[in-house]
Symmetry: C2
Subunit: 475 residues, 2 copies
């Protein structure tokens, strides 16, 4: 299908012009004309395409929230299979897995209120994995911790916080990279057992996220091996955390009432949806591009991660429609159960270890950071591939993309594969307002800017073509 394939990998040394495919990492990598023609045509087509936007519209409109292992997530898998088949993908299939189901209970709204000294309703939401209150709620005195570290440093006697409700007030700062998120997440992930071990009856945290809006930010708590929380754990919105902080600063003792029926509901089924554009020359070699199909239950999962589903699916589809086919297989994986602990990604990695195709995974990347513009290309690949990535970046500069370091990950669902040795790369998106919406009811389709999403698809078509049409190894 392609021409000039033997001329594809031109490496131009600082002092030599001869051909030497696939090695000499410190040399400048040059793509052949056919490759450049293909990727720039893909980029131009993608910038005019609304396919990603329309896929995300369809998913969020027709399915909406899709919490892992729920009926809604199953409907999302059916949606994905139907869409991927209709778009002409090959080998469309679902790989199911069983997991523990956690849900919030009857309503996405849970009750929380300051009862003393100044009664006031709070906007709160249970954290994933948290337990229910007693049926008629619980009310307790608040112990205020300015930070998670203050809780860690607190008296660790088993009754040090007996009967008390822990409140933790750490703030997250917005950034383009979103890198404050991991640090801020410590309280969300781990405060519950530090509180439980000190006798507390519940945990309340200032929402992770940077929003000043009155939405509480949900998200998963960590398990400690098989141990799960026996106390309720909720986040309150930033304005409500401010209210608690103001009352505490005035020297008053707060009492708060909570009522939630959150909890674990036994085993249920989730799954990963897989589809392929089979490679022309080395179909057994896999470039995996992913996103996750599940979302939190409070928004409609538009930015997290309906956008990623749209972006990677559209990128693979535009390549499929280009009239050319790369030498390697492009495998689109729409993971299940990402939000609740990368459960789909772990199931995928385990299955590939078992079926012996792990080593065939040449490189992988995920789109899972909203729909704002891609601003940086990072890689985590062997030295022999650095110049290849540098040269890829040069071709992507017209999209406003800079070259980032050769470190870091390929997105959350790539982590289990990366841990098993798969190289990864990432197209970093501008995250400066991602945590305004993330994991709240506010994660809805209207937050996506079509032109920014199209720029993502353009970057992904180029990125995916370069990687899938290469003979290079990235390990």
């Amino acid at each position: 299908m392609r021409v000039f394939s033997s001329l594809k990998y031109l490496l131009c040394g600082a002092c030599a012009g001869f051909l030497m495919p696939g090695v000499m990492a410190q040399e400048t990598h040059r793509f052949d004309e056919q490759t450049l023609s293909t990727v720039h045509a893909l980029s131009a087509t993608a910038l005019e395409s609304d396919l990603a936007y329309e896929l995300t519209r369809s998913l969020t409109t027709e399915i909406g929230p899709r919490l892992a292992a729920t009926e809604q997530e199953a409907r999302a898998r059916d949606w994905a299979v139907a869409k991927l088949k209709a778009l002409g993908f090959e080998n469309v299939r679902v790989e199911s897995f069983d997991m523990d189901l956690w849900t919030r209970g009857a309503s996405v709204f849970e009750e929380a209120a300051i009862t003393a000294p100044f009664p006031q309703h709070l906007h709160a939401t249970s954290l994933g994995g948290a337990a229910a209150t007693p049926g008629d709620g619980l009310e307790a005195e608040v112990v205020f911790f300015a930070s998670y570290d203050d809780l860690l440093a607190f008296d660790d006697a088993a009754d040090a916080l007996a009967g008390k409700l822990v409140f933790i007030n750490d703030r997250m700062v917005a950034s383009r990279t979103g890198e404050g998120y991991g640090w801020a997440n410590r309280k969300r992930s781990r405060a519950w057992f530090h509180a439980e071990d000190r006798g507390a009856v519940g945990v309340l945290i200032r929402s992770v996220g940077t929003s000043s809006h009155r939405f509480a930010h949900t998200g998963m708590m960590s398990r400690l091996d098989e141990r799960t929380a026996v106390i309720p754990a909720l986040a309150v919105s930033a304005p409500d955390a401010d209210q608690i902080e103001r009352i505490h600063a005035a020297g008053e003792t707060l009492r708060i009432r909570l009522q939630t029926s959150a909890g674990w509901r036994g085993e249920a089924t989730s799954g990963n949806v897989i589809a392929e554009v089979v490679g022309a020359e080395a179909p057994e070699e896999i470039v995996i591009i992913g996103a996750h199909l599940d979302s939190w239950d409070n928004g409609t999962g538009a930015l997290d991660d309906g956008a990623g589903v749209g972006i990677v699916t559209a990128a693979a589809k535009l390549i499929m429609d280009s009239g050319q086919r790369p030498r390697r297989t492009i495998r689109v994986v729409l993971f299940g159960a990402e939000e609740v602990g990368l459960i789909g990604a772990r199931a995928y990695a385990k299955a590939r270890s078992e079926d012996g195709t792990l080593a065939n995974h040449i490189i992988g990347s995920e789109s899972d950071f909203g729909a704002r513009e891609v601003w940086r290309l990072t890689s985590n690949v062997g030295a022999q591939a650095h110049s290849f990535f540098d040269a890829m970046h040069v071709q992507m500069q017209h999209l406003g993309i800079t070259r980032g370091p050769n470190s870091g990950g390929g997105g959350p669902d790539m982590l289990p594969l990366q841990e098993l040795g798969m190289p990864v790369a990432r197209l970093n998106q501008n995250g400066e307002d991602y945590f305004e919406y993330h994991h709240t009811p506010n994660d809805t389709f209207d937050k996506i800017v079509p032109a920014e999403m199209a720029q993502n698809v353009a970057a992904w078509t180029m990125f995916t073509w370069f990687l899938a049409d290469s003979e290079l190894t990235f390990r």
Copy 2:
């Protein structure tokens, strides 16, 4: 107390330099040096003061939401009386009045969901005055109206919408003046009876307001004389209205389920809180500066109108503390029950008509548009006072304030007095993001910028002093 009072009103004609107090509106008005010294000292003090901010902090933290005629509004009156007395105001009192109480019911959260074709939860809130659904809710097919005008133009037979749920999709556009609000409010105020008269079982509107966040915007519906709604009427957030619009645009018929216990609860008591800085020379002459103490139940009423309470109270207090006293009385009125139909303002105007002091109300103004900076001075006064306002404006230019037209109102609670002949003026605030927060859970204290609020107080101290220390009539 003041010096040079006989020299206060210097009018400098285009061709004459002689003194001529209080007349010749087309002439340039000049203030005496003592007045200028006083107002600029007040402005400088106000710009450094956090009194308004602290008052608003206290009201929203210690009381929070304060729906008209509820126990929370009564607590706010107690708070106001205590604060005003502690600040040294004179003649602090409450004028109570009875009114019909409407409440949302047990929770600020009400249930709304699309049931077909794509089941999804909606963020919705009853409009003030709306009725309850049956106890177990109602579910009906939606009739989609792109605009309120489309509903008006629809078949007006008594069964034209029998059994149907009306949805109206008008959008409001943001502006500095907020002037799209009145137009957008038509659907909120009046759609219910157009729907009822055509047999509809409920009304749902795209939220008034400009927010793209997932908060529904509440607000009062109009009464038709003594007629009140017998059907439920709710607003959905903009993202949820988008969802309804997308499904409708796809040619699908929607069904929506609603459940709310909103309704009228019989007669209850509200009241206006009044406090004064008694005038030095003409204490019977009243310059009224107002704000309203009640708020909607979903936010904490920080911008609407805790900010106004803080601003006018602080302005009067700073004048009181200046060591000087204007010739007229400054009357601070913190109105009750503004949100639900200017009931406090009407009670105040009626009481003044009855006690014969209406004519003593020289001029009035209200702060009720958030806490962003004042950018314009408007007036609605007799021609003899135009040059006075123009000259006031010149002195306020250092605050970034422009001169607006001699038309319009003095704020919502000034309307009943204005209708009875009282002149009004207004310090227009920047409203470009006011309707992002207004009448939603998002109206909280963190949205206030201290420096912008201090600029308001500076403007109000100058404005209030100029008007209260004048001998001019404004009718």
